[in-house]
């Protein structure tokens, strides 16, 4: 078995949730694997992160370089290619960073790439069997990935919950191996999201609307229902893409993280990026025409209905209470 490395995402001295999830994922590939955390970055935060990871991982490789102060995937890729042994298995979170880094890294490491892994079934010879999803989570697939010459495996965040398991090891400083880190893409700045007229992160009850609303003219019925319920209105990504609502109302990993008591998912299919923005275990009601929509797997109560007909009827019933 090749060596397994996990890329540790961190910002402002805090490790991302994926940092320890990747340790759990690595142990699913091989329970006796030696798993090394790779921490890249620059400055004072590095030692804190490395110490935290050394308490869990079998080993920690620290790569400290001013060029890595912000995790520009192009720079990180060079640092990893220059540092990691050939045939390594590299684990990344399948998020906006891992999607930026993983595919190109696999080419430069001349290894296999598997994206958005939601399950790991183990190895058979030189092949790793994993579970993925296609068509926005409507169907699952078993996929074999030839790992004999190494692999880059992007692991879906939140799937492999950290279970307090620990190996423990030492921190090795590999900064001297980072080599040439010059790239043709320069990080400039992060532009923070604009605040909207409603802060949905504070809402206790959300009526959230997705593609099932079909037309901009129909958006009004969602606001009417929310008003009857005393709720706020949020939405999924396609509504913002269509410019029918402000970005500040979007729930999901690329939008807001909400923690309501009750979440009404109206015509929302329930992609993992959307569900990633819902925390605090709310009571989820899903209304959708498509009974195969993934939202019905995670909702508490489901209703098979066309929201364009259902929402006005529900509003009327609530107003009649």
């Amino acid at each position: 078995m090749a060596e397994i490395f996990a890329y540790i995402k961190h910002a402002d001295g805090v490790a991302d949730d994926s940092a320890l999830e990747l340790f759990v994922a690595a142990k699913k590939i091989a329970a006796d694997a030696t798993v090394t955390a790779v921490v890249t970055g620059s400055g004072a935060d590095m030692d804190k992160i490395c110490t935290e990871m050394a308490a869990v991982y079998n080993a920690v490789w620290k790569i400290d370089n001013a060029a890595l102060a912000y995790p520009n995937a192009e720079v990180v890729r060079k640092a990893l290619v220059n540092t990691l042994p050939a045939d390594s298995i590299v684990l990344l979170p399948h998020d906006t960073f891992g999607m930026d880094l993983g595919p190109g890294l696999s080419i430069k490491m001349d290894s296999s790439f598997a994206a958005d892994i939601v399950g790991i079934e183990g190895t058979d010879g030189g092949a790793l069997k994993v579970i993925r999803q296609e068509f926005s989570g409507q169907v699952s697939t078993h996929v074999t990935c030839d790992i004999a010459a190494g692999a880059v495996l992007n692991i879906r965040p939140g799937v492999f919950q950290y279970d307090d398991s620990k190996a423990g090891g030492d921190v090795a400083d590999k900064s001297g191996d980072a080599g040439d880190l010059s790239v043709k893409r320069t990080f400039l700045e992060v532009v923070e999201a604009e605040a909207g007229d409603v802060d949905i992160t504070k809402s206790e009850v959300l009526v959230s609307v997705g593609r099932g609303i079909e037309d901009e003219d129909n958006v009004e019925i969602v606001f009417d229902l929310a008003e009857a319920m005393g709720a706020d209105v949020s939405c999924s990504r396609p509504i913002v893409d269509a410019k029918w609502m402000e970005k500040s109302r979007q729930v999901g990993t690329s939008g807001q993280t909400v923690k309501p008591k009750v979440y009404m998912a109206m015509g929302i299919s329930g992609s993992f990026q959307h569900m990633g923005g819902i925390k605090g275990n709310p009571f989820i009601v899903a209304v959708n025409k498509n009974t195969k929509a993934p939202i019905f797997q995670v909702a508490d109560v489901g209703i098979e209905a066309d929201i364009l007909e259902f929402i006005p009827e529900l509003q009327e019933a609530i107003e009649g209470l």
């Binding site: 598997a114 400039l188 939008g255 009974t291 508490d300 209703i303 529900l314």
Partner: protein
């Protein structure tokens, strides 16, 4: 600016319920409605808008069969200048790396400043653009939701977590994967499709592209789908049944109990 946009013909998930066939080795493809991958459509719109501002041309390319030609024509009806169909029996069964290898052949036959893909397609892997960039030694940026063209370089915004945007400067030539919402893709009417119906779309195979047959197709694929199955539903939702009045009455009881009504 010479722009190449890589597009894919996919089952339209807003028009279809995806079902698995009886053998479990594919989805049920009879009667499926296909369309251009949604992300790719934003990429083509963006390319057209850039060329409208700074001049140049937009070429749309796909790896597929004769049926894939329809998505090329659709994007040409939007305003792409040229289409390119990469088709060969040897391409079948390629994994992401195989597809990127085929596209590299097309990139090397042209003289493109900018190559775009959609951020992801039906398989949700989001891999081909990044692989193609690394093969070409071009810089890459994924999930791009803003492009400002400059001299020999672009300023690009990437969508990152929390609704934030990561701004980068990237040298040309480069590869960008485009996120939905970057623009509002124009409507394509039947008249537009008719206008480009007789435009010739060149077809190129492995030999034309100079692609090594050993690097593509099923035999070269290191990542292979074994089967399809329905996701584990877990406990799943309690489905409310009955007449609409009954369903609403039950739902209101739940909402009252859970603090959903004020």
């Amino acid at each position: 600016m010479e722009i190449l946009v890589c597009v894919k013909r996919v089952p339209d998930t807003s028009e279809n319920e995806i079902e698995i066939n009886s053998d479990g080795n594919d989805i049920e493809r009879d009667d499926l409605v296909y369309s251009v991958n949604e992300w790719d459509n934003y990429a083509v719109e963006e390319a057209i808008q850039i060329v409208d501002k700074v001049g140049g041309s937009v070429t749309v390319v796909t790896v597929g069969d004769d049926e894939s030609e329809e998505v090329l024509r659709r994007e040409m009806a939007m305003g792409a200048n040229n289409g390119l169909l990469l088709t060969d029996d040897a391409f079948e069964g390629s994994d992401g790396k195989g597809i990127a290898t085929i596209l590299k052949g097309a990139v090397e036959k042209g003289n493109y400043d900018l190559i775009m893909t959609g951020a992801q397609a039906d398989e949700g892997a989001a891999q081909v653009g990044g692989m193609l960039a690394a093969m070409m030694d071009y810089p890459y940026a994924s999930l791009v939701n803003l492009i400002e063209a400059g001299d020999g370089k672009l300023k690009v915004g990437r969508e990152i977590e929390g609704g934030n945007q990561e701004m980068n400067e990237i040298e040309l030539p480069c590869v960008l994967s485009i996120q939905t919402g970057i623009n509002e893709p124009r409507y394509v009417g039947i008249r537009g499709i008719r206008k480009v119906a007789s435009v010739e779309i060149p077809e190129l195979g492995a030999g034309d592209l100079g692609v090594d047959a050993a690097a593509i197709g099923e035999d070269a694929a290191k990542v292979k789908r074994v089967d399809y199955f329905m996701p584990d539903m877990g406990e799943g939702a309690e489905m409310l049944e009955g007449s609409t009045e009954e369903i609403i009455a039950k739902l209101i009881e739940y909402l009252k109990a859970k603090g959903g009504l004020k």
